[in-house]
């Protein structure tokens, strides 16, 4: 984890360390239990295909939670994330055999006068965007 206190205050254009996050079927089962979202499209291949999906897909909220790790690990204190929003553009298909890997990167887009930073996130699977308009507003630790 990065200790934000030891860093220079971020500037527009700064890049956050990019990460690969593997997702397996077991992750979706565990997330279903922890979140209470038991929609079978996230764990039942037969059901997912019966409603026109290519296979089991990850909970959008699991992908969203995973992507913001790039921000929370960078700033250190997840409580510094004031605002976080995404649009789910493409389902993350998680095959039984191979799972999926989400690649996430981030960039500081704005440094506001009130000390808040806006970070834009990019999340892709096999080069295709799975989250659009992914953006977090963060209070940098030295600004409070």
């Amino acid at each position: 984890m990065t200790d934000a206190q030891t860093q220079q205050r971020p500037r527009v254009g700064d890049e956050l360390p990019a990460r690969d996050f593997p997702i397996a079927r077991a992750d979706l089962v565990r997330y279903a239990g922890a979140s209470g979202d038991f929609n079978p499209i996230h764990w039942n291949e037969r059901f997912a295909k019966s409603v026109g999906l290519p296979d089991v897909i990850a909970h959008g909220m699991f992908t969203m939670a995973t992507a913001v790790r790039v921000v929370t690990d960078w700033v250190g204190d997840p409580g510094a994330v004031i605002e976080y929003g995404v649009r789910f553009t493409r389902p993350v298909v998680v095959s039984d055999a191979d799972g999926a890997t989400v690649t996430v990167s981030g960039e500081v887009r704005e440094v506001r006068d009130d000390g808040l930073l806006e970070v834009a996130l990019t999340a892709t699977v096999d080069g295709e965007t799975v989250l659009a308009k992914a953006r977090a507003v963060v209070r940098w630790p030295d600004s409070t």
């Binding site: 979140s35 913001v68 790790r69 409580g79 976080y84 649009r87």
Partner: protein, 149 residues
């Protein structure tokens, strides 16, 4: 089947209080594979300036999604839940959720529209403590694929 537009503007009564437990936060953090100590260790959370362990930025879905189901599962709305996927989600926090919070959600139907043959239903969930302290607002859009008449 088409969705009933008259639901726009409808406000639902506050949900029953949900008590945020330390172990639930730990379970959720484990489920998103996030080892951050402020989700597990009250000392680490206090060192970061919090009163107790805090919840991950997306934890609120644990309370806002069931609250939103009041709308989605209302048979009068006309949504086929088996066709539903998540379209958009945004959380705006006044402060992090922390262990011990007693949370209630007031859901408002903000918009219902049709796009590319899909029905889109947008809701806002205002999350506050039972004492009336605002904690966050969750904005959610769900998509019922190919259900628009």
């Amino acid at each position: 089947m088409s969705v009933d537009q008259s639901f726009i503007g409808r406000v639902y009564p506050p949900t029953p209080p949900y008590e945020v437990g330390r172990e639930k936060i730990r379970e959720f953090a484990a489920a998103i594979n996030d080892p951050n100590p402020v989700y597990r260790d009250a000392e680490a959370a206090r060192a970061a300036g919090h009163d107790d362990v805090i919840a991950p930025p997306t934890f609120a879905i644990v309370v806002t999604m069931p609250a939103g189901h009041q709308v989605i599962n209302d048979p009068d709305l006309g949504i086929d839940y088996s066709r539903v996927v998540h379209g958009e989600q945004r959380f705006v926090h006044h402060r992090p959720i922390q262990a011990g919070d007693l949370l209630q959600v007031v859901v408002t139907v903000e918009n219902i529209r049709v796009a590319a043959g899909n029905d889109l239903v947008s809701t806002r969930g205002d999350v506050q403590t039972v004492d009336g302290e605002p904690v966050l607002t969750a904005y959610s859009t769900i998509v019922a694929r190919g259900t628009a008449a």
